[in-house]
């Protein structure tokens, strides 16, 4: 079942996706775009500060295993500024150990989803985090 976000006349919700797997990044961006979100995708986290300033995402989808700077470090960076701290960060990771989940949540992640996730599950979580619970 595919749910699309009905246009309300306002700007689309902006989602920052940080995912190093090219196929997953492209397919997830396409799907979220199809659902009505505006998506900016990064393959790694070195540009996160500039992207946060310019794109001003309302929600962040974050993988943990990333080149250069891993997702844990990015979570720490997001906690360093009050305005960044307010952005709900949903970890979407293939790290399935409980220890990883606890560490990410302790570092400020709002949710921890272990791959593979159903896309309807992802959009439900996004809507919940934005205060628009699914029907």
């Amino acid at each position: 079942m595919i749910t699309t976000i009905e246009g309300s006349g306002s700007d689309p919700i902006r989602i920052l996706l940080i995912e190093d797997n090219e196929a997953n990044r492209r397919l997830m961006s396409d799907y979220l775009g199809y659902c009505g979100y505006e998506v900016f995708a990064l393959a790694e986290g070195t540009q996160i500060a500039e992207t946060l300033e310019q794109f001003r995402p309302q929600i962040i989808l974050l993988d943990l295993k990333l080149p250069m700077i891993d997702g844990y470090v990015l979570l720490e960076q997001l906690q360093q500024r009050d305005d960044w701290k307010q952005i709900p960060t949903i970890v979407v990771s293939a790290y399935a150990f409980q220890r990883d989940q606890q560490r990410a949540l302790d570092l400020g992640a709002r949710r921890y989803l272990v791959k593979p996730i159903r896309l309807s599950q992802l959009t439900d979580v996004i809507r919940e985090e934005l205060g628009d619970p699914p029907d």
């Binding site: 196929a23 397919l27 996730i117």
Partner: protein, 66 residues
């Protein structure tokens, strides 16, 4: 192999497998979207054809009665 090496290797293998499953899930979703969009296009075409046929029949019956 000590326990740390075992953990690192297992973790990497699991991570790769779960990422591949995620790709498969996303491809299925993309396929579902394509099927739905093709279905919508065919439904639209069906309505256009039906309307055209009805108009042609109306025209034929009008010219036949004259």
């Amino acid at each position: 192999m000590n326990i740390d090496e075992f953990e690192a290797q297992t973790r990497d293998s699991l991570e790769r497998a779960l990422n591949q499953l995620q790709t498969a899930t996303l491809l299925l979703a993309a396929l579902e979207i394509q099927v739905l969009e093709s279905g919508n296009t065919i439904k639209d075409l069906s309505q256009i054809v039906e309307t055209f046929i009805a108009q042609q029949r109306d025209r034929d019956s009008i010219s036949g009665s004259n």
